[in-house]
Structure formats: structure tokens, C-alpha cells
Symmetry: C2
Subunit: 331 residues, 2 copies
């Protein structure tokens, strides 16, 4: 009989969606967040995302960092939709031999993660589980017209991201494999990307307010996968002519004989935003992000044909529909 | 070093609470639900509760029932506060060998549980975990003045419950131990209490609307524990003179040489509401519950002294502060 391992996370979500009776929703099922209409154009925005020790906690991560990461995973989806979180609830499952001092660290990390993004931990639940499990749920408010969906990309729109890619996967390779970095500076950059990920909340909020964004998603499953998600939802393709590989990642790839494309496109655990911007409003978008101290990198163009092409070193290659997926390792 | 097993769930929650920086909240931390003020007296009501296969799924429970129970656990807390759920998000953690058909059952159970209470499953998350974990979060709307807290009980108030106790623990003893029941009817009653628990949403909503309730809590940690929680929050005591033991439970206790008091007071997994009612409004409360086809059983009185006394068979005994607690078995 078929197991979840054989079908993979995305198929499972598809199976579940088909079993649900769904109402009219201001934000479609499967987008980064869910929404409930409150009247007066206001929308209650909801998100839940579960951190599991086994798959989401690399060696070397402190429990404070675990708590904070569980928050960042959720805030990143709010960031993609330009919504500031107000309240966070956390359900903890911990093994019975888990140490009290680690609970304290975890709680401090949860609280710090929430406060860092302007939210408060208002409640939660605790119980026994075999793995460490931290399931957060977020609540916020926005207006429907201010929320960019995954489905709004149109041919001619500019594709942009809020930062460079490949640092998290480099960090994971430092922690999990025997990769090495060329300098202590780049080592710190890579480890910080894994252990202290940043949700691009200020950027996402400023961009949503600018109304220049036609589609948006966070990149927690990798850049390639995020582009495919927008492509599927928007029925459009992409020509990526400026792959945003971090310069340190290029050096790291060379040193460890790795493919920099692989690192930048298919690594998960990235928390940059992937956006499409209306070309006439590009300057406005750029200005909005710069105002909050962020970066907006133009990486390509939305195309009518639903192809996914990367120009790299004078050649054209097809970006593959893969990335980080639970139950399956890359592939 | 101290483990969570040694300190128990309630102490863990207390430790976590001390680590949080809390804002002004319309509903205090540690009550059945959390709240965020929306203006115009409206409150966004939030709850998260995690079902873990290891501790919350008895043998004989189908995956449909598991999905539904994960919803009921959350709805029961909304019921205690008189709030109708609108949206539910579910984060699933499943072992990689979990069968696809069981995911389908689980999704059907989640959806059925939500629809049964007027809510919809709007989104969620799926990942790999060692245990089956179903972490639900609920969203609803209410008004602050309509939400009974745990802290409002006053001396002279009537203590009431929405049904009889002891059936769930009897059901668990049928499933887990070698207990037997005297009839197929009572066997079905006990098993249904465990496998198809009912959240008292209609009763809780009607009671909150009646404004007759001074304090309220659900009884998922057992009747004794629920009384102690109200006692602690309200700085009051209880005299319980009509212990609501289900008649089938009295027979079951006799047959299996068990103490019916133990079954009714200290068993967990009950989903009745435990309430205190302003005495002048008792008839109004009774009427409100009867209107929705429910039951309201008067079981005692709130006292000024913070004692917890039970009158039973002409004797007075002290109710102990114990009940179901994660990480600890009874006691």
C-alpha cells in the first residue's frame, strides 16, 4: 500500500485539499497564508507551520534558535503576503526526557522571535511527543487589496528577490557534511543563514503597501520551487537572466567542487521573498524596499510561455521543478 | 538535570509563561483561549491544541476519528468560552511509512470535525515526524463581555456541568485494560465517549449569550482539575453535593471493582463544560441550554473558603488537585 514517503508532501497536500469542503475564501487554499473576511475590507490572516526536530533542526542549533526559527518559518509566509503578525500561539510536543533548561531556552527563543517581528506569544499547548515538535500559528490583519497572491504574475512583469541565495544550503553542508568555507566571515554568513534565519517582514510589508507587487511567495522550499509555484498559480513562465547566487556561495561552490546553480536554485530553508513586480511600478517597489533598509534584486522577467529558463554563462538551461520536500530528499 | 517528566505539564506552562513578555490582553494567558482586541468590542479568539498519536490516540480509534478528535479538542475550549469557530488550520506531522489511505481518512475526519461545528479547514502544513501529530489552530470572533473567564466565580454562585462524568475513562479502561461493561448499550456509550467525543459548543454558546455564566472551563483534564483551575483563578472554593457520575459509570465501577468517585473526578478526556452560574440567573441559564437541546446539571455551590469539598453518601471528602497531565500519569 502507498505510503506518504512514496507520494511526497505536495501530493499529500493535494489529496487533503480534495477532501476538504472549502468555502469562498479571500485567499485561495494553498497560498502562503489563509484569510477570513471580517467586513470593511479587513481580513484576518492565519498561518500554521510545524517545526520538527528530526527534519528542521540541524546539529549545532541551540534551543533558543529552535524556538526562534519556529516563529521565523511562520513569519516568512506573512512577509510574503505583506502582513504584520500580531499574535502567535505555540503548541509544543517534547520527549519526556527533554530538559527543563531547554524548555526555558525554547520559550525564550519563541518570545524573542515573536517580539522581533512585533508580535506576542499569547498562548499555546504542551504535550509529550517522541520528537521535538513546535507548531506555531500566527494571526494578523490586512486588507484583501494589499495581499499579493501567488496567482497574479503577468507576462512582462519583473521578477525580483529580496536577497542572495545558496547561503543556507552552504551552511547546512558545513554542519551536516564535510564541506569547508574559505573564510571565517563566509562561514559565519552561512551558519547564520541556517541558525538565525531572517524573515523579510519589513521588505514584504513595504512592498505590499507599494501595490507594485503582482505575485509573491517565500522561498522556504528553494528558489526553483518558488518560481514553479508562482508559475503554476499564474499560468506564466520565467526567464531568469540574473541568478541571485551569493558571491560567498560562488567561492564556496568552487572550493567544495559543488555546482553553484544547484546551491542557489534547489536548496531549501531560504527565507527570501520571490516576487513579480509590475514594470511601471519598479521604481516605486525599489524605493519602498530601500526605505526599510532592504534590497530588491531584479533577476528576470515573467514570460507568456510557461517555460522556466535560466540564462547562465551565455547558455540557456531549463530550471527543474524540484526543491526541498518533506518525506522526500531532493529529487 | 531536571527533565520535563519530573516537573509535569503545568509547571512547564508556568515556566514558559514567565519567559514571555505579555501585552495587555482581553483574555488572560492560561485561560482556555487567547484573544486579540479588534476594536468595536470585537475580539479575535485563537486556540491551538496538539494531538499526539502516542498519548491521545487509544487503540481502536480510526484515523477519521483521530482527525475529528483533533478538531474537537480545540472546539471544546471555544465552547467553554461561548465562541463559534470560523476557521481551522491543521499542521500534520506523520511518519514516512504512514499510509496514503490513512491521510485521506485523517483529512476527512478533520473536515467533518470542522463542518460539524460550523467551521472550515482553510489551510495547514504537512511534514515528517516520528509520531503522528495533528496540531490544530482555531479562529473565531466574539465580544469581550460575552466571554466567561476562569476567574469570575463568586461565593454563592451555582456550580453546573453540561453532562455526566466518567464515561471516557470507562471507555479507556475497556480499550486499554481488561475492564468489562455490563451491557452492549453502556459499552457503546463508553466507547463513543472516547472515540467520538462531543464538544459542548451549542451549550457553551447559548450559555455565554445568556450572560448568566460567571466562570467557565472545559473538562479535558478531568472534573477535579477543572474545578481547581476555576478555584485558583477565582480565589474561591467549591462544595460539590451532587457529583455528576453517569449511571452507567456507577454500574461499571461496581462490576470492575473501581471507585466511581475516582472515575468521575480524576479521569481526563472529558469534554463537558464546568461552569459557575449567577444564582439569580439560574433559570435563564437552564432555559438557554434546554433551548439548544442540552443539559445543565447543578452539582454544587461556590464557597468563599478556598476548600474543595465533596459530599458523597453522607460524608464530606476533600477533592484532590489532580487529573490528567501530560508527562505524568495520574497522581
Amino acid at each position: 500500500m502507498t505510503t506518504v514517503k512514496e507520494i511526497g508532501e505536495r501530493k499529500i497536500i493535494e489529496i487533503i485539499r480534495r477532501k476538504l469542503s472549502l468555502p469562498r475564501m479571500p485567499i485561495p487554499f494553498g497560498d502562503d497564508v489563509s484569510g477570513v473576511k471580517l467586513g470593511d475590507n479587513q481580513i484576518a490572516v492565519l498561518k500554521t507551520d510545524m517545526l520538527v526536530g528530526k527534519t528542521d533542526v540541524p546539529p549545532g542549533m541551540s534551543f533558543w534558535q529552535v524556538g526562534r526559527k519556529a516563529v521565523v518559518m511562520n513569519v516568512s509566509d506573512f512577509a510574503a503576503k505583506g502582513v504584520k503578525p500580531i499574535a502567535l500561539l505555540a503548541a509544543l510536543g517534547v520527549p519526556s526526557a527533554f530538559l527543563k533548561k531547554n524548555v526555558v531556552q525554547l520559550a525564550n527563543g519563541l518570545s524573542a522571535g515573536a517580539r522581533e517581528h512585533g508580535a506576542y506569544v499569547l498562548g499555546g499547548d504542551t504535550g509529550e511527543a517522541s520528537d521535538l515538535v513546535v507548531s506555531c500559528s500566527l494571526f494578523g490583519l490586512s486588507e484583501r487589496r494589499l495581499i499579493p497572491l501567488r496567482s497574479g504574475a503577468r507576462a512582462g512583469d519583473i521578477v525580483a528577490v529580496t536577497g542572495f541565495f545558496g547561503k543556507s544550503v552552504a551552511g547546512l553542508k558545513l554542519l551536516l557534511e564535510r564541506a569547508s568555507s574559505s573564510s571565517t566571515v563566509s562561514r559565519k554568513i552561512f551558519l547564520d543563514a541556517v541558525l538565525l534565519p531572517k524573515a523579510r517582514l519589513r521588505e514584504g510589508f513595504a512592498l505590499a503597501q507599494s501595490r507594485a507587487v503582482s505575485a509573491s511567495i517565500d522561498s522556504s522550499d528553494g528558489l526553483a520551487w518558488s518560481l514553479y509555484e508562482i508559475s503554476r498559480a499564474s499560468h506564466a513562465g520565467f526567464l531568469i537572466d540574473h541568478l541571485p547566487v551569493a558571491p560567498e556561495v560562488l567561492r564556496f561552490a568552487q572550493r567544495n567542487k559543488l555546482d553553484p546553480l544547484e546551491l542557489a536554485l534547489y536548496g531549501g530553508e531560504e527565507y527570501e521573498l520571490v516576487l513579480t513586480i509590475k514594470p511601471k511600478l519598479w521604481q516605486r517597489a525599489l524605493h519602498a524596499v530601500e526605505q526599510v533598509g532592504g534590497r530588491l534584486l531584479r533577476i528576470g522577467t515573467v514570460t507568456k510561455k510557461t517555460e522556466m529558463i535560466l540564462r547562465w554563462n551565455g547558455k540557456s538551461v531549463v530550471i527543474e521543478p524540484r526543491g526541498w520536500e518533506h518525506f522526500r530528499r531532493r529529487g
